[in-house]
């Protein structure tokens, strides 16, 4: 096949993809126990983790701002309390990052796949292309695109 038409054709398909996925029942997925489990399990980690890192970080900032003497105290020779606390921020970022990565792979990704299992066939490239065709043909659709 000649090179030029291919990218343009694909790009065109990507554009018509702007049409909403009318055949997917988003409300049903949202109400499904699988989706609810996904959202709840993810939130039960992300929410406490977010609160923890914001408190730990802003606590460090507040100490830096208001407890200058404490932060300047020596732990060992030139190493100050402030630097030790600063290093804990690095550890926190890496530990939380890795924890979230492993939880996502083990728990959230499988749950997400389960939640959309019944609908995934409507979201393949072929289904999208077909939908673009029908939506262009069916000009009588009364539903205005939501976006």
């Amino acid at each position: 096949m000649a090179e030029p038409p291919a990218p343009r054709g694909e790009a065109h398909a990507a554009r018509t993809d702007d049409a909403p996925h009318q055949d997917i029942d988003w409300q049903a997925i949202e109400a499904s126990p699988e989706f609810q489990e996904l959202v709840n399990r993810r939130r039960s980690f992300v929410l406490p983790a977010t609160i923890f890192f914001l408190v730990w970080y802003m606590g460090f900032i507040l100490l830096t701002a208001y407890a200058k003497d404490f932060m300047s105290e020596r732990v060992y020779e030139g190493l100050t309390v402030g630097y030790c606390l600063a290093l804990t921020q690095f550890v926190m970022v890496l530990v939380l990052g890795l924890m979230y990565l492993s939880r996502s792979a083990k728990v959230y990704d499988p749950l997400a796949a389960k939640a959309i299992e019944r609908w995934a066939h409507l979201d393949t490239d072929a289904a999208r292309a077909g939908r673009a065709e029908t939506s262009r043909a069916a000009t009588t659709t009364n539903e205005e695109p939501a976006r």
Binding site: E30, A86, Q89
Partner: protein, 533 residues
């Protein structure tokens, strides 16, 4: 006037090699920058690891490399505070936005907002936020580039800005996101190599004992007139301003359009997530080493090096490299200085290219294609519009940088960009993705509150009215002494979103929330990667 005798030939050679590499990349990428998905999002074919490197390349600006190392050299602990804030910010990005953006968005921040909100006002609001952030950040980087290249290579400021701008536009216009991404990756590798090699040299001088480095830095910091301290308070003197800065740093990254745009270049949410963690490791390691460079400069260059380090200590790192290589006038010294100068130059090029691309996408995709042409334009026309937008934005930024010259304060403008990002973009994005009740009026008032309050407060701040950064000086009013507006403008951004939403009768956005919610959490219906062709 250019005085040829003062030109650092070795540096020119290093710069030329870097530019040659980036031009090869651009030529290779130029064949794959035809459609909008290719131009804005590199066909969504960048891997998680590559994107992690590119995020690092996009994020670690010259302000990070030279600026923070300089601040640590001059003030010690307070400079390191920036490193911490810039790094922890990636937790905000990872937990709240990265995957959701990838699943819900297409090319710009506005795509996420307009998904369920009234398209035209939502896009205008988002484009306003994006352009404000990109403009201040871009001009700051351009001025920084001019000052640095002038000092390090001996090329005149105006010419330096023109060279930087021309290459930045070449990458973006001919190579789109693919070229920009690979310039960022190459730069990230160069920057990391540069800072690691310098750190090894520094640590070698103290027998690879970090505590010894702390001790020597402290001893050198006891010199007369030194501002260096291992404890806080030498640079950030006003406590409430420190808190305000800390808040703007940790939330600002989650509103930077050029960083968020990077999540549209990967195939799926999983890759977006892994790219954030990769970036955390690279950026974390980098910021950890800023201490080695800053303390190393203090221990080795001492108080005598302060004058040569220039305003804000920006030249402390290059001067340290020269010293580590053997000193002024030696071949090793010249070579090491030239290499570090080249790394700094590559750093600036990669950051400005990312910024121009994000700004031109806001103009072409949101304003031109969606609002003016109402989506009736062809894909090809939108790419053309984006290229015209990039050229225009680039030309304006170069003009302002040249006219304003080195009188423009770089760190002030970067601070402003972060404050606007945290106050205008972040609240609207977060609430659009998570709050069912959120509506168009809320988004528009939120962005307006954020932009106006951040801009207004900066205008009356002490730093604009002649105060020294970080010093408890007064600005336009004696009762207002914050240099960073974050503590006030970020809550105002959220309040604007909530008030606007609750006061408006618009409720239909709740219906389309189902799709956005499911899509952002699961990736069903998300934009796909283009097949390899």
């Amino acid at each position: 006037m250019i005085v040829f005798a003062e030109i650092n030939t070795l540096a020119v050679v290093v710069f030329s090699i870097i530019l040659a590499i980036t031009l090869v990349i651009t030529y290779w990428a130029s064949k794959r920058a035809r459609s909008t998905a290719e131009f804005y999002a590199a066909g969504r074919g960048i891997t998680g690891f590559q994107n992690g490197l590119a995020i690092s390349g996009d994020y670690l600006s010259a302000a990070s490399f030279l600026g923070i190392a300089g601040l640590i050299y001059l003030y010690g602990f307070d400079g390191f505070l920036y490193s911490i804030g810039f790094l922890v910010a990636f937790l905000t990005v990872m937990f709240l936005l990265a995957e959701r953006m990838r699943n819900a968005g297409k090319f710009t921040i506005a795509d996420v907002l307009s998904f369920r909100l009234n398209e035209r006002p939502a896009r205008v609001a988002a484009a306003l936020g994006t352009l404000n952030v990109a403009a201040f950040y871009l001009i700051a980087q351009m001025v920084g580039a001019g000052v640095l290249i002038e000092k390090l290579v001996g090329i005149d400021f105006t010419l330096s800005v023109l060279i930087t701008g021309t290459f930045m536009l070449t990458y973006v216009v001919f190579g789109g996101m693919l070229a920009t991404t690979w310039v960022q990756i190459v730069k990230a590798v160069m920057l990391m190599t540069g800072i690691v090699v310098m750190s090894v040299f520094v640590l070698n001088k103290v027998g690879f004992n970090p505590i010894e480095l702390f001790n020597r830095a402290e001893a050198a910091g006891k010199a007369k007139e030194s501002t260096f301290s291992l404890g806080p308070g030498t640079f950030l003197k006003n406590p409430i301003d420190t808190v305000s800065l800390g808040l703007a740093l940790v939330l600002g990254t989650a509103g930077l359009p050029h960083i968020l745009m990077r999540f549209f270049t990967v195939p799926d949410a999983k890759a977006a997530r892994s790219s954030v963690v990769t970036a955390m490791f690279i950026i974390g390691f980098f910021y950890l080493l800023t201490t080695t460079i800053g303390f190393g400069a203090r221990a080795i260059l001492g108080q005598e090096g302060v004058e040569a380090a220039g305003k804000g200590g920006n030249l402390a790192a290059p001067n340290l490299a020269e010293n580590l290589g053997g000193g002024v006038g030696t071949t090793g010294g010249d070579l090491f200085l030239a290499i570090i100068a080249g790394v700094a130059f590559a750093t600036i090029l990669a950051v400005v290219a990312g910024l121009v691309l994000s700004a031109s996408s806001a103009v072409a995709h949101d304003v031109w294609s969606s609002i003016i042409r109402k989506g009736r334009d062809s894909d090809r026309e939108e790419v053309l519009a984006a290229k015209v937008a990039a050229l225009t934005i680039g030309a304006i930024a170069m003009a302002i940088a040249i006219i304003g010259g080195s009188a423009l304060n770089v760190s002030f403008m970067v601070g402003l960009a972060f404050a606007i990002a945290a106050s205008a973009n972040f609240p609207a994005l977060l609430l659009a993705l998570t709050w069912r009740r959120f509506n168009t009026t809320g988004a528009v008032t939120g962005v307006l509150f954020g932009v106006v309050s951040a801009l207004g407060l900066i205008i009356i701040s002490p730093i604009v009215w002649g105060g020294v950064p970080g010093a408890p000086d007064t600005g336009a009013f004696t009762w207002y002494d914050l240099n960073n507006p974050g503590l006030i403008s970020i809550p105002l951004g959220f309040i604007g979103c909530v008030l606007g939403t609750l006061l408006s009768k618009e409720r239909e956005t709740e219906r389309s929330f189902h799709e956005l919610y499911v899509r952002s959490e699961t990736g069903l219906g998300a934009e796909r990667a283009l097949a390899e062709h």
